[in-house]
């Protein structure tokens, strides 16, 4: 569980704490624009550290066909959110130091995975993972790479654009089976030995 205290920002309620799962918490910060640009970004904000974070994001969510750009944007978000307050800064800074100590930048995918597995319960790993899973897969370039088409209403939805264009299976029945009503109405069999069968202790 991660407790995020949001202070300031554009919200009408300026001081408010959210107790959220880590996934939702990171979304909050990015979409409600708590304006991290005002915070002094220091930790991780250099080419060497960023390169390590980019590698880590790619090792956590490896897609061979993805170019560097979405991973770089995600790494930037990981760094920005890792500077949200002093506790986060410490977490990020220690995490990066440990990566360096482990010579992480030079590890191949297999060895990287082994290392990440070792640290996966750390706050640092969880910060990188939970931020990345939201930011990477909410990236419009990634949507395109995965074939996802995003917003569709302004294009008239898919009613004339292939909502039913799957052609490798036959067209199925859409109406209910004529026996459905009788099936739903039928009394279920009640078995006397029900508790035995369910083996509840």
């Amino acid at each position: 569980m991660i407790i995020i205290i949001i202070e300031g920002g554009d919200m009408s309620i300026s001081r408010r704490s959210f107790v959220f799962g880590s996934v939702a918490a990171s979304v909050f910060i990015s979409l409600w624009d708590i304006n991290p640009s005002k915070a002094e970004v220091k930790v991780g904000d250099n080419a060497e550290d960023k390169k390590l974070i980019i590698k880590m994001v790619r090792d956590v969510y490896p897609h061979d066909r993805f170019p560097e750009a979405p991973y770089e944007r995600t790494a930037n978000d990981v760094i920005t959110k890792g500077n949200a307050d002093s506790a986060k800064k410490t977490m990020l800074s220690e995490g990066i130091e440990n990566l360096k100590k482990a010579n992480y930048g030079k590890l191949n995918f297999k060895k990287s995975t082994k290392y990440l597995k070792k640290i996966e319960n750390s706050g640092f790993f969880q910060h990188v993972r939970s931020t990345s899973v939201v930011t990477l897969y909410n990236d419009q370039e990634v949507w395109g790479l995965l074939g996802y088409e995003g917003s569709s209403f302004e294009k008239g939805g898919y009613i004339n654009r292939g909502f039913n264009d799957l052609d490798w299976l036959p067209d199925p029945r859409i109406e209910e089976h004529p026996d459905l009503a009788a099936f739903l109405k039928a009394d279920p069999n009640r078995l006397a030995a029900i508790e035995d069968m369910i083996k509840l202790n």
């Binding site: 569980m1 909050f28 897609h63 990440l116 909410n138 067209d171 859409i174 089976h177």
Partner: protein, 521 residues
């Protein structure tokens, strides 16, 4: 819009979703002026966005909450036990649209299933026969497809995979509904354009919600005083023990009081019991309407789980109506399967943004990205089954954590019953077979999401010692206090609950109207 004086003793409805919105509509149509206090804003169809996270932040109820128990949601989404909405229309703005009725025996599970260790089963004080006319009215209000002569939705890509798989494993009872989004124009709403953003409010306005139908029509009567951004924090009572007002925070956070002749609580299964508990007094030290001690107990959230399957060829599941695919073959109680009750299978699609977060919360690495990488080729279904009411699965006040108004937040405790686990595992295996029959190359057992089906925390009972409200939604203890939402469900059945909440609310409204006319309340 009607303005009702705050000092005037009014009929006050708390919430505007399937329960409260329906109440507001039925009562104002009967000539009864009402105040409806809704905690959220009034989004119109043009306000909705075709964006999963954006819509979530726009619509979801995000006030602080806590969780406990062995359910995985408590670990992965510890502050987000549910996925409910704070908006006019409540969670009908987010609902998908599946509208099955309960089956007859699902109103009498204690008689049907017998005594099950750890399960606090109870027969409902109403029967399917009592409910049938109200089900028909609710289906006509919602515009359920496959009912009342209304057309079926066409097969979308996700349904094609689902239905063919169902057929190949020997299932018969699959169809594209019943479903609460129009296939063809009905009741002033257009047919679906299959935009795939049904959960996000539906910009086309084809989906039924009380924000689309009941609230606007109640406003048209000139009898509804709808106050948005109005969060009720306490219900007050007089020395006779009758409720006489509600305290709420307005849009600016200022405390207001509305005098009340009748209070109808429709805040869903988390906020309704919480409000009753927050309204404790020296006369009612355990909270309002709680002489039974059942307020907040027997919280149910349906047995859920999802199965996603990856194929060699494209599916494009995100196109088209999200849940317009239904299979009933496993819904009948058949203890030979190793559990009581049953479940529906329903198509479900998520975009990459949500699939990545919910497919397997916390997962990372190559196996996970192999699945995500095949996003275009994924089909998905939701498993919705009856879960067991348990006395200790409950909503309580967590006095250690305060909300934005300084009130204790609700803690949602949930431990899974062995029956729930047995049914889910059975359902996963069956779903894997279904998708494998049409060529799945990878399948994924996705655990339950934060709950959208929230039931049973103010349950309906024949006897006052067993529950909180009677068969008319009227509290056993306080005659001018009603509850109309999913919290009154005695047991959960397998069916998606919105149709039943709507039908119950229509039924309850008749009692409110007749009691008011007789001068009894």
């Amino acid at each position: 819009m009607k303005k009702i004086d705050k000092k005037e003793k009014a009929v006050v409805i708390i919430g505007s979703g399937a329960g409260g919105g329906t109440m507001a509509y039925e009562l104002t149509r009967a000539g009864i002026p009402c105040v409806c206090l809704e905690a959220g804003p009034f989004h119109k169809k043009e306000d909705y966005v075709n964006d999963e996270w954006g819509a979530f932040l726009q619509m979801a109820w995000l006030d602080a909450r806590t969780t406990s128990g062995d359910w995985r949601v408590a670990k992965d989404f510890s502050g987000l036990p549910t996925w409910l909405c704070k908006a006019v229309g409540g969670t009908t703005t987010h609902w998908a649209g599946a509208t099955p009725r309960f089956m007859d025996y699902e109103f009498k599970t204690k008689s049907t299933y017998g005594n099950l260790k750890g399960a606090n089963l109870l027969d409902w004080p109403v029967t399917l026969k009592d409910m049938e006319p109200y089900y028909t009215r609710a289906e006509d209000a919602i515009g359920s497809t496959h009912r009342g002569g209304r057309a079926a939705l066409p097969a979308n890509n996700n349904y094609k995979v689902f239905a063919e798989g169902a057929k190949r494993v020997g299932y018969k009872f699959y169809a594209t509904g019943p479903y609460g989004t129009n296939a063809e124009p009905y009741d002033g709403r257009p047919g679906s354009v299959q935009d795939g953003f049904n959960f996000q409010g539906d910009k086309n306005g084809s989906k039924w919600s009380t924000a689309k139908r009941e609230i606007p029509r109640a406003l048209e009567t000139g009898l509804l005083d709808l106050r948005t951004h109005s969060h009720v924090t306490k219900i007050t009572h007089n020395k006779e023990g009758l409720v006489d007002g509600v305290i709420y925070r307005d849009v600016d956070g200022n405390e207001q009081r509305q005098a009340a002749q009748v209070v109808i609580v429709s805040g869903n299964s988390i906020e309704s019991p919480r409000l009753l508990l927050l309204s404790e007094s020296s006369m009612f030290p355990n909270g309002l309407a709680n002489s039974s001690g059942e307020v907040g107990r027997n919280y149910m959230r349906h047995l859920t789980g999802s199965m996603y399957a990856r194929f060699e060829k494209p599916v494009k599941m995100w196109r088209g109506e999200t849940m317009a695919g239904f299979c009933a073959d496993e819904v009948k109680h058949n203890p030979k399967r190793g559990f009581v009750g049953g479940y529906y299978m329903e198509t479900l699609a998520l975009g990459p943004a949500f699939l990545s977060s919910f497919l397997d919360p916390g997962a990372w690495g190559r196996e996970f990205t192999d699945m995500m990488d095949g996003y275009e080729n994924i089909a998905g279904m939701w498993i919705v089954g009856e879960d067991m009411p348990q006395s200790n699965n409950r909503v309580t006040l967590n006095t250690d954590v305060k909300d934005q108004y300084g009130n204790p937040v609700p803690n949602v405790h949930f431990d899974e019953h062995k029956n729930d686990i047995a049914m889910r595992n059975y359902a996963y295996e069956k779903a894997e077979k279904l998708y494998e029959s049409v060529g799945a190359i990878q399948t994924w057992r996705t655990p339950p999401y934060p709950s959208t089906h929230n039931l049973g925390t103010n349950r309906m009972s024949a006897k006052s010692k067993d529950g909180v409200v009677n068969k008319w939604g009227r509290s056993h203890d306080i005659k001018n206090l009603y509850i109309a939402d999913g919290s009154v469900m005695t047991t959960g059945a397998a069916a998606n609950p919105t149709l039943t909440i709507t039908a119950l609310s229509i039924r309850f409204s008749e009692n409110v109207i007749s009691q008011l006319k007789k001068g009894n309340i």
